[in-house]
């Protein structure tokens, strides 16, 4: 049983991917034992009709997900009337959470608008997925250079919102040493393993972050799903740690 908290539907803007059609992605996930996948949309990176993106995402999950895909709508708080998008995600589309891309949408975590998003998500009981990066900034397309999100302000922002549940996607590898420990010390932050690197990366992460706060995320289909899966084998983990990371923590986070 695996819960993958980090997949995306639709098309990566710069390349076709082997599993960028939802039925193929779902088949791949099922073959690998995934029972639930939290899905955002690549369209959420650049499209300005975010309401349309989120409606399509929910429809795609319902139509092709075979009960496996759970939609997380994109929110761009720099768009007019963004709070209505949050309302629709929660009330109309019954989403358990939202996904944020501050670097693609053009704001830093120090921007007060980010605090407003967190406050609204906390009020509405939405999980927030904060995506630190999509790809390696060193090898991006020259016309679409998007630096990683600067995560340094995160600790202070979350410390004052203990009821908020925030999942940091593609960020555990970017945070180093003390910064990772500081974020890991916040009990309302979870980190996925998609961009972890270095031999034994998962075991190394567990030296900085409690196992209860580590979740399985593949960043598929942009990344090979097998990367996250093999990392779980590369590190020597106890059966309890495996179960916690592969599904228990995500299920607890979701409240199921």
């Amino acid at each position: 049983m695996i819960v993958d908290v980090n997949v995306s539907l639709s098309r990566w803007p710069l390349r076709r991917l082997p599993c960028d059609e939802t039925p193929r992605l779902v088949a791949k996930l099922k073959q690998h034992g995934v029972t639930q996948a939290w899905a955002g949309s690549f369209d959420g990176l650049l499209h300005r009709d975010i309401a349309g993106v989120n409606a399509r995402l929910a429809d795609e999950c319902r139509r092709w997900g075979q009960g496996l895909l759970l939609p997380f709508g994109s929110i761009n708080p720099l768009l007019p009337d963004w709070t209505e998008d949050v309302r629709r995600c929660r009330e109309d589309l019954r989403m358990p959470g939202i996904r944020l891309h501050p670097n693609y949408h053009g704001y830093a975590l120090t921007n007060p608008i980010f605090s407003e998003v967190l406050a609204l998500a906390e009020k509405r009981g939405l999980i927030v997925q904060l995506v630190a990066r999509m790809d390696d900034a060193r090898v991006q397309h020259p016309l679409m250079r998007v630096p990683d999100v600067d995560l340094k302000p995160l600790g202070e922002l979350l410390a004052s919102r203990p009821k908020l549940r925030l999942v940091l996607l593609n960020g555990s590898g970017a945070l180093r040493d003390e910064a990772r420990k500081r974020v890991g010390a916040l009990r309302n932050v979870w980190m996925d393993i998609a961009t972890l690197e270095g031999v034994g990366g998962v075991a190394a992460l567990l030296e900085d972050v409690p196992v209860e706060q580590v979740v399985f995320g593949s960043h598929g289909p942009l990344f090979s799903f097998e990367s996250a899966l093999l990392k779980m084998r590369e590190s020597e983990l106890s059966a309890q740690a495996l179960a916690a990371i592969l599904h228990e923590n995500a299920r607890r986070l979701l409240g199921t």
Partner: protein
């Protein structure tokens, strides 16, 4: 049979993944959920890793022992190691010697599993040639590593490449295509193509395939004595498929860039690719073995 760390022999390590070329197959027999499609594609194969380093430990022996423990878990039989316990962009002759001494210690620690590649610097040609003699001609190393001291299309590389060809030693040349800007001496795949054209009798591994692999693969496509080495970039889906389509499976070689990169993330590039099992076997080990076989045979190293 040699016993590796944790008391696991190589055969046991390979059996642990079901004798499969596919590392994900391991998950079907291990402690993770069954059902991987790779598990159904079992083939007899071996995995050799073309790109690794030392570091993250107090000594070369500790470093390589640690990496081999993880290699065991992933079913990797042999690894290439180059450069020493610290990264030096532009090493002096003395630093070169120290760096290569570290690798010699790693090779001596596990001679049946570790292939050493001698680190050279084309800014110090005479001393680099001496290091090649010391470590390859008269020592156990079997290849040459060039990093970022100087663009590899410079003429000063020619004597180094000629000596490598004489020794039947393949050359692992770091390449990157950074939109953020390469280091001053950091080569691109295009630089390597220039060098390879001047030396058609030498064998080259294009390390990282430029990392911006969609361009890197295209750059090296027409240079038949360059293989694409896939390490050191994110496990982006589709890389290996494109490399095989454009270069042929015989010119694509698995490497990880451990310990900085995960064996797992880099193996996943091959494991996830939609390939024939014959192609997967070539990429995971057979191509590197074929490239190294002349020098291994000359040195009497079992392979």
């Amino acid at each position: 049979m040699t016993s590796f760390d944790g008391g696991m022999t190589r055969r046991e390590a390979l059996c642990r993944i079901g004798g499969s070329a596919s590392a994900a197959a391991a998950l079907a027999v291990g402690d993770l959920p069954a059902g991987s499609p790779a598990a159904s594609q079992k083939t007899k194969a071996f995995i050799w890793d073309a790109h690794g380093h030392l570091g993250g430990a107090r000594t070369p022996e500790e470093s390589i022992a640690r990496s081999l423990r993880y290699a065991d878990r992933m079913g990797i039989e042999r690894v290439v190691v180059s450069m020493g316990m610290s990264f030096v962009y532009d090493p002096t002759p003395e630093e070169l010697r120290r760096q290569n001494d570290d690798v010699l210690r790693a090779v001596r620690f596990a001679p049946e599993r570790v292939f050493g590649f001698v680190y050279v610097n084309p800014k110090h040609v005479a001393e680099s040639l001496q290091e090649m003699d010391r470590c390859v001609r008269d020592g156990p190393m079997v290849g040459v590593k060039l990093w970022v001291a100087m663009h590899c299309n410079e003429p000063s590389l020619d004597p180094i490449v000629r000596r490598a060809a004489e020794l039947k030693a393949p050359i692992l040349q770091h390449t990157f295509l950074k939109v953020t800007g390469n280091l001053p001496g950091e080569s691109t795949p295009a630089d390597l193509v220039e060098l390879a054209r001047r030396h058609p009798d030498a064998s080259f591994l294009c390390a990282h395939t430029g990392a911006d692999w969609e361009r890197g693969i295209r750059w090296i496509r027409e240079a038949k004595n360059i293989a694409s080495e896939i390490s050191g970039s994110d496990p982006t889906a589709g890389m290996v498929e494109m490399a095989v389509r454009e270069l042929g499976a015989e010119r694509v070689i698995y490497g990880s860039d451990f310990p900085g990169r995960s064996f797992a993330s880099q193996l996943a590039k091959v494991d996830s690719a939609e390939l024939s099992e014959a192609a997967r076997r070539l990429i995971l080990g057979e191509n590197l073995r074929r490239m190294l076989l002349p020098i291994l045979t000359a040195k009497g190293i079992r392979a």
